[in-house]
Symmetry: C2
Subunit: 381 residues, 2 copies
């Protein structure tokens, strides 16, 4: 039996006690027992999202939550500003196209963070924009977009909402839904929460509810209004993914116990230690404004990033992620989300060193690991 | 620790080995290992659906599969014939309304099966109908609709498809997708497959694909075309519910091993034995054409069916289901789906006897159980 490591930025490794919790006998979703769990989840999500808004839970992957946002907030023919700086920014644009929403794209080079001034200019040119769609963290490039600054731009506009895909950001680093004026925030189960994929969670502000009441888009399964009504009855509109919600209750209880600051510090620590190793190897990061969710490393000259990923998976039993679309082959990505600790980061660095060595890139075996170890030990130079 | 029994028609009891299988470490969805699992699932679903069509797997509850069918097959302004004889028939009509599809409702009294002649008349009156939407088994009433006969009506119409919600029918009794001309068949994970909720599966015929290519409805997450394209690359369009698909592979392997006839015989046996007990108690079934998925019992005069359900749940640790909407209080429902056997049916009958006794309905304790036991033993009078 080969030991396997999952260090991709979603799906992530799930803690064994959470796996076993979800393996308990299924309970019926229309029961006082399940309603009590849902109430716990509801409170836990408000804490996680740093919001007083209700957070809806959908049985879908994160993309379902993104689609729900477009369909509930924008009517056909509406205009929306889309920050497009990676695969998931492109997904916002594709969703707008699918729903007949005119996307004003603010294009950002992959690896760069959006300049709020560019979004401000788009909003000046299109005051009729119903929404601004953005990623808090663009998983495909490892970039953090400045959503707090965007909140300041959008807040004074009574008819425009800010919609943040925080699928790989929420729970990783500080995202203040209410304080920053983030009208809609979307996350998924398979990132910082460390659950299997299959749940999307969406917080909705009062400003966003007003649009949801007005949108003429066809929707049913992803209709915010149905879910809010159901939540009032301590249930869900449709059969929920019961086992994942049981897992969610467990994970959220732990989040409240350790507290958000500790959670953020954990991700920061894994990211910084890993990056000390990356630097020691003479490698560079791909993103300009890197997030704590994932370390995205530029493949060195002459090395195909996909080959690094393949070697790790096939030879060493370690799953990291490569690049997607235009970044394919140019980068590889090591997750800091999920059931991982600093020892795992040493493993990842050792595997990367070995793969680069094997592929003919000059590397001193152990150098990155040593640097990371020193960083984690608080003994970095 | 109280022992608990789940005997509602979805979510259902999941076998412990399947729960533990799904508790194994999560694997990445873009990997050869997951692709191989998906290929097994693909073959297993074709066997289960009795089809050569591709079966798409969506991360959603069954309603997501129903919505996908409406959105992919009907354009706004299209006409569709809807068989409406229970809560899920009403859901088809609601979906049509949400998508601007004109529903010609064939209303059927709750508890009755649709008369194919009524559907034929609706099709005569509306030859432009793009689809006929129907349940194979209407879970809210326990009725089987004659989908084979409807297949004969729809097959000769080149521009009309038959869409069957078989969420609580597929795997329970014989549903021949290809032989009967069922263009789209929808099922869910939390019924006969005995998995937790969170997956919808949809088979799509060539005739239906032609409509899907043509539909102008907005759709993205539920876009059949995206999923078919992904399937060709041995993957899914969006992050799949990995743990549920691992469970699905396990369950489908077992279905192929025992064979569909044995699976159908199992459900029939549980249903018939239970009904021998029901008759012995002087109780009657609610549906005219009962399915093998669930036994739906009419609450006796003066007894509130909801009280029966509540007593079982709160006092005896046994979850069955009550009636919904207009059937609320009038019926209670015992599932034959999920990880249940004939001994469980004796438990359910004993609990029903005790609850009726407790609620003041004259009942001879043990009479229903004895009759069911005799039936199961092959010793029925």
């Amino acid at each position: 039996m080969r030991k396997r490591y999952l260090m991709a930025p979603g799906p992530v490794a799930v803690a064994p006690d959470v796996l076993l919790k979800m393996a308990e006998p299924i309970i019926h979703h229309r029961s006082p027992q399940f309603s009590a769990i849902l109430e716990e989840v509801r409170g836990g999500l408000k804490y996680l999202f740093q919001t007083r808004n209700d957070v809806l839970v959908l049985a879908s992957s994160g993309t379902g939550g993104m689609e729900a946002s477009v369909a509930n907030l924008c009517a056909p023919g509406d205009t929306a500003v889309v920050v497009r700086g990676g695969k998931f920014g492109e997904r916002w644009a594709e969703l707008c196209e699918a729903y007949g929403v005119r996307a004003v794209n603010v294009d950002v080079a992959w690896g760069r963070a959006v300049d709020p001034a560019d979004v401000a200019a788009a909003l000046e040119a299109h005051p009729e924009a119903r929404a601004v769609f953005v990623q808090a963290h663009e998983t495909s490039t490892g970039v953090k977009h400045p959503v707090e600054a965007l909140g300041e731009l959008v807040r004074p506009r009574p008819e425009t909402v800010l919609v943040v895909d925080a699928i790989s950001a929420l729970g990783v680093y500080d995202i203040r839904t209410d304080d920053w004026g983030l009208d809609v925030v979307v996350t998924g189960s398979q990132k910082s929460l460390g659950l299997p994929p299959g749940l999307a969670m969406v917080s909705v502000s009062e400003k966003a509810w007003a649009l949801a009441e007005r949108s003429t888009q066809p929707r049913y399964y992803f209709d915010f209004r149905r879910e809010r009504k159901a939540l009032g009855r301590r249930t869900t509109a449709f059969t929920p993914a019961v086992s994942l919600i049981i897992g969610l209750e467990r994970v959220l209880a732990r989040v409240r116990e350790v507290g958000l600051p500790a959670l953020f510090a954990h991700h920061r620590r894994l990211a910084e230690g890993t990056r000390a190793g990356v630097r020691a190897l003479g490698l560079s990061l791909f993103p300009e404004a890197p997030s704590e969710a994932v370390t995205v490393i530029r493949a060195p000259e002459g090395i195909d990033g996909q080959e690094v990923v393949k070697l790790l998976r096939e030879e060493y039993g370690i799953t990291i992620a490569g690049g997607q679309a235009q970044a394919k082959g140019k980068i590889f990505r090591i997750s800091h989300m999920g059931h991982l600790d600093e020892w795992d980061m040493l493993v990842a660095l050792a595997a990367v060193e070995r793969a680069l060595h094997r592929l003919g890139h000059p590397v001193e075996l152990g150098r990155g690991v040593a640097a990371a170890e020193a960083w984690f030990a608080g003994a970095a130079a």
